[in-house]
């Protein structure tokens, strides 16, 4: 049973770990995919911005960008149309900003399909990367944190005669990233549901095991005395190495008289009290079995000194002898006779060892009761 439980436990833990591993692998894959998509966006943006840069330089032919566009609305419209073609659901906003004499960014051109900025309209930003791109004349990206509709912003300077005229800006929409998250979220949910299902199954298993253990314990327990019963004794004999035990057989003296004088209810009361008195005198790893009507068999772990078991038997006998059992104002005094098998190994089988203890018990009964007998020679004493 223990091995089966261990196997189940290892199996459950392994399955759970595999699911958790797969869940996190999927998250890592999702991140990797997002990174790749971002890379693709940047590459495409580079292509677009290079084309825009070429187009502007071609149209302006070395003239000042701001001044030319300020004067020529037709050129603005023409260039904005070019930017408009690039903008779509993924490349959400495509626009060009310049820096005025106060260091503020303002729109030169805006090809976005919506939320268009006017020519010369101020564009407030506090991100230092804009200035960095302007100054270092190198393209860069900004990962958007504040804006919940944008993912990444690509910035590329327009440089004429080593002077930065403006920045071409492409805002990449968050839609694709969100769609990717939604797609992987569904798979992730499957893993979560699997974990929940396994957890639920585990709970059912634990509950079933608890019921099984209780039923098993009940089937091995004598309902009256709460000691083990003969069914358990059979299992115990089958599975245990009994050579490490010594046997004490205990029988209540004149128990029939108790039943006759006080009734069976008192008899049951005495049996349960005797069992609890014996239990108080033994250790938790000793095994006490109700062997018959008023007979108990105790398997006690062998001590280094084999005769120690006689002390235990005497202690049990004395403890019962000194107890006063009270039932309905009746004070009842009980004694027990005890037979002991000192060494099971001296007997061919366990059944013979038990029989020997029973024979010693018989001698104890024969020779006056309320005594402990462990050797046949004690009979003559």
């Amino acid at each position: 049973m223990k091995n089966i439980l261990q196997t189940y436990f290892v199996l459950f833990v392994t399955v759970c770990l595999v699911i958790i591993y797969m869940y996190y692998s999927l998250s890592a894959t999702e991140e990797e995919l997002k990174k790749n998509m971002q890379g693709i966006f940047i590459e495409q943006s580079k292509g677009f911005t290079n084309n825009i840069d070429d187009l502007i330089h071609k149209e302006l032919g070395g003239k000042n960008l701001y001044e030319t566009l300020q004067k020529d609305k037709n050129l603005r419209d023409k260039l904005e149309s070019s930017l408009y073609i690039i903008a779509n659901n993924s490349f959400k906003y495509v626009y060009i900003l310049y820096k005025d004499k106060y260091g503020d960014y303002r729109y030169l051109l805006d090809g976005s399909h919506n939320e268009r900025g006017e020519f010369n309209q101020i564009f407030t930003t506090t991100n230092e990367k804009w200035d960095k791109v302007y100054k270092q004349q190198k393209s860069d990206i900004i990962e958007q944190k504040v804006v919940d509709t944008l993912w990444v912003t690509y910035l590329q300077p327009i440089v004429t005669n080593k002077k930065t005229d403006a920045i071409i800006v492409i805002d990449f929409s968050l839609v694709l990233k969100k769609e990717l998250s939604i797609a992987t979220q569904n798979i992730k949910s499957v893993f979560v549901y699997l974990l929940i299902a396994i957890g639920f199954l585990l709970l059912i298993l634990i509950y079933q095991l608890a019921i099984y253990s209780k039923t098993k314990m009940d089937s091995y327990t004598d309902a009256l005395t709460q000691t083990y019963n003969r069914l358990y004794l059979r299992k115990f004999i089958e599975k245990e190495n009994l050579e490490k035990y010594q046997i004490i057989m205990i029988d209540i003296d004149y128990f029939k008289d108790v039943n006759d004088q006080y009734g069976h209810a008192v008899g049951d009361f005495i049996l349960s009290k005797i069992a609890s008195t014996i239990n108080k005198e033994i250790r938790s790893d000793d095994v006490l079995v109700r062997y018959g009507g008023e007979e108990f068999i105790l398997f006690t772990k062998k001590k280094s000194k084999v005769t120690k078991v006689i002390d235990i038997a005497q202690r049990i006998r004395k403890s019962i002898e000194q107890s006063c059992f009270v039932y309905d104002n009746h004070k009842i005094y009980i004694t027990v006779s005890i037979g002991v098998t000192l060494d099971i190994k001296e007997h061919k089988t366990i059944h013979q060892a038990i029989k020997y203890a029973d024979e010693m018990l018989y001698i104890a009964k024969e020779t006056g009761r309320n005594k402990v007998i462990y050797d046949i020679t004690q009979k003559s004493e």
């Binding site: 106060y102 939320e115 506090t126 919940d148 805002d171």
Partner: protein
């Protein structure tokens, strides 16, 4: 350094918030900065939705009367003629009220845009804190 940490904390809080919370926080900060000495700031606004949001800001009282308001927050009206402090919610309104609008806050390209006009702040003898200084612009 302390101010920088406070500002970063403020920015961080703003980053974690939804757009409407960001907007409310920006209005709260702007109004409290502009009217530091006032226990209660009377605000007139022409947008029902924004009134609900602004009314939740501590020390703000919404008024129905332009005359008694300390500041007008305008989202739609192009016909306000009173010489009052105006704060606008669109770029077009900012252009329209460039003579007496002290600034505006609006969303463009998914980004929150806030700006103050230096000359008009000066006109009404208003100051903004160092945190908002970067949004003060010389010209529209």
């Amino acid at each position: 350094m302390k101010k920088l940490i406070l500002f970063l904390l403020c920015v961080n809080t703003i980053l974690m918030s939804s757009n409407s919370t960001i907007e409310q926080k920006i209005y709260a900060k702007t109004l409290h900065e502009l009217f530091k000495d006032k226990q209660q700031i009377e605000v007139w606004c022409d947008d029902k939705e924004k009134i609900d949001m602004i009314a939740k800001i501590p020390h703000i009282k919404i008024t129905d009367f332009i005359e008694t308001a300390n500041i007008l927050i305008i989202f739609h009206s192009f016909n306000i003629s009173q010489d009052k402090i105006i704060f606008v919610g669109t770029y077009n309104l900012l252009k329209h009220y460039k003579e007496n609008a002290i600034g505006g806050f609006f969303w463009q390209k998914g980004r929150p845009n806030i700006l103050f006009l230096k000359d008009n702040l000066k006109k009404y003898d208003l100051n903004v804190s160092q945190d908002l200084e970067q949004y003060v612009k010389q010209a529209l």
